[in-house]
């Protein structure tokens, strides 16, 4: 039977996500990188007790509108920019494995910071590099690795320290997710992916880092149209593909 990983809607693509799942959420923080529609679908599904990983814990709905206004002098923000903060704000997240759980300045309190202060969410703080490599290791079937980053700091915790080449290293474990939700530019029905500019970031890293990887893409192309020399994520890492709507859907509550 022909391979076809394409799902018709975002709601169908996340239909089997269960409470308590570990979800790698692609993107970095900017307006073009998040799997916005998959985040929205998880919000609509109202799945609870999630462990999320990623760079940034994300903004609330109100903060996102404010950001769109505030940043318009620098760059237009699309109407369908949703961040993991929506899931946090709605109380769907039990734990975050994150590099930016709270913002550096005092000016803005993201939802994750508010819940952390109330003790309603658990945090595993980790630098971007160690997080990315832990996810890559999961994709690669590597159980753990030693990194020179973090000995003697907040990220050491109870991790094994071992010396190599005169430097202390931390043992970091692979971090396999139940689901990776990512954004890419083009896909074919096999799930081969290419990305667009700096939207590659954690999206390409998380592809294959979970039992199920779901890619939301700008465009679906015919099998054979993607240049094999330029495919970034080969098909086996991707289980589901959903195409973003041509016209932005600005309210995350709208089923799509």
């Amino acid at each position: 039977m022909a391979i076809d990983k394409v799902f018709a809607t975002f709601d169908e693509a996340v239909a089997d996500v269960e409470d308590g799942s570990l979800v790698h959420i692609g993107g970095f923080g900017g307006p073009a990188e998040y799997p916005s529609y998959l985040i929205a679908a998880l919000a609509r599904k109202d799945v609870k007790g999630l462990t999320i990983t990623g760079n940034h814990s994300g903004f609330s709905e109100g903060q996102l509108s404010m950001m769109k206004q505030r940043m318009s002098g620098m760059m237009a923000y699309p109407d369908d920019y949703f961040s993991p903060g929506i899931l946090v704000e709605r109380g769907q997240v039990a734990k975050g494995i994150l590099a930016f759980p709270v913002l550096p300045g005092a000016a803005l309190k993201v939802p994750f910071e508010e819940l952390l202060e109330k003790g309603e969410v658990e945090l595993e703080l980790i630098g971007q590099g160690s997080l990315a490599e832990r996810i890559r290791a999961a994709r690669a079937g590597v159980a753990a690795f030693y990194t020179p980053v973090g000995p003697g700091t907040v990220t050491q915790r109870d991790k094994e320290v071992r010396w190599f080449d005169g430097r202390p290293h931390l043992l970091e474990r692979a971090l396999k997710g139940d689901y990776s939700i990512i954004r890419a530019h083009k896909a074919d029905r096999w799930g081969n992916l290419v990305y667009r500019g700096t939207a590659r970031t954690f999206n390409a890293t998380m592809a294959g880092g979970s039992r199920v990887t779901i890619a939301e893409v700008d465009e679906l192309v015919e099998l054979g149209d993607l240049d094999p020399e330029c495919i970034v994520t080969p098909a086996p890492y991707v289980q589901r593909v959903v195409v973003r709507p041509k016209e932005p859907v600005s309210d995350w509550r709208t089923p799509c």
Binding site: N55, M75, P104, Q128, G129, V154, N203
Partner: protein, 232 residues
């Protein structure tokens, strides 16, 4: 732990603003270097790199070889941004990469110099920059990987906190990002080399004397024999 004693504020004296510090710091980037520009003030540096010089600016979100920040929102491209979310110019030779590749580049020692903000720097070059006092947690970002693994770390920071406490201290009182990593400090009043044998005052902003810089610096400064004016 006792609070760090407040130092004179010298409120009437000149200081570089963020752009001035970025402009001075940009001179640390030599042709052929791979330079990472961290979150905050360091992001401004890309606007001051000599456009004729071939340097590879790297940003941890996964782009290398980019150009200056784009000021005109009509030309901004949200698919080509730096780690602070600012749109940057596409340049010949640039490339995009995944996050694990971006940090392979950092952890693997391929970055010659990184520019990071600081909350405190110790005499030994220990850096604290991830957790603002009073916050329940902080933003580790990609800064810890960079601080541990870049060949050289240049800190860009005001010399004192807003309430006048020194940010260059004998020992960190804030949470450490990485030990003994800072090689140079570019502040709003001075440039200081951090060496195993001490802190060397290299440049002083006109309007300040080395003694006055010492008064707002906790560890002892060695005045360099070739002390120069900090000029832009």
């Amino acid at each position: 732990m006792s609070a760090t004693p407040s130092t004179p504020k010298f409120e009437d004296k000149p200081r570089l603003d963020d752009w001035g510090m970025a402009m001075r710091a940009a001179r640390e980037i030599k042709e052929g270097m791979v330079a990472n520009l961290g979150f905050g003030i360091p992001m401004l540096i890309s606007s001051f790199v000599d456009p004729e010089a071939e340097v590879l600016l790297h940003s941890e979100n996964g782009v290398i070889g980019f150009g200056p920040v784009i000021e005109d929102p009509a030309r901004a491209d949200r698919y080509c941004i730096n780690g602070g979310g600012q749109p940057v110019e596409r340049m010949p030779g640039m490339s995009f990469m995944s996050h694990e590749e971006s940090f392979t580049l950092i952890r693997g020692g391929w970055v010659d110099v990184t520019f990071l903000g600081a909350l405190q720097v110790s005499a030994a070059g220990d850096l604290a920059n991830w957790r603002v006092p009073g916050k329940i947690s902080g933003a580790l970002g990609g800064g810890q990987d960079l601080a541990f693994c870049a060949k050289s770390v240049v800190c860009i920071t005001t010399h004192q906190t807003k309430d006048g406490s020194p940010k260059i201290v004998n020992r960190l009182s804030l949470d450490i990002t990485a030990p003994a990593c800072v090689k140079k400090i570019v502040s709003d009043i001075a440039v200081i080399d951090v060496r195993p044998d001490g802190l060397f005052l290299r440049e002083v902003l006109p309007g300040w004397t080395p003694d006055e810089v010492q008064q707002v610096t906790e560890p002892e400064l060695e005045v360099s024999a070739d002390l120069a004016d900090l000029v832009l």
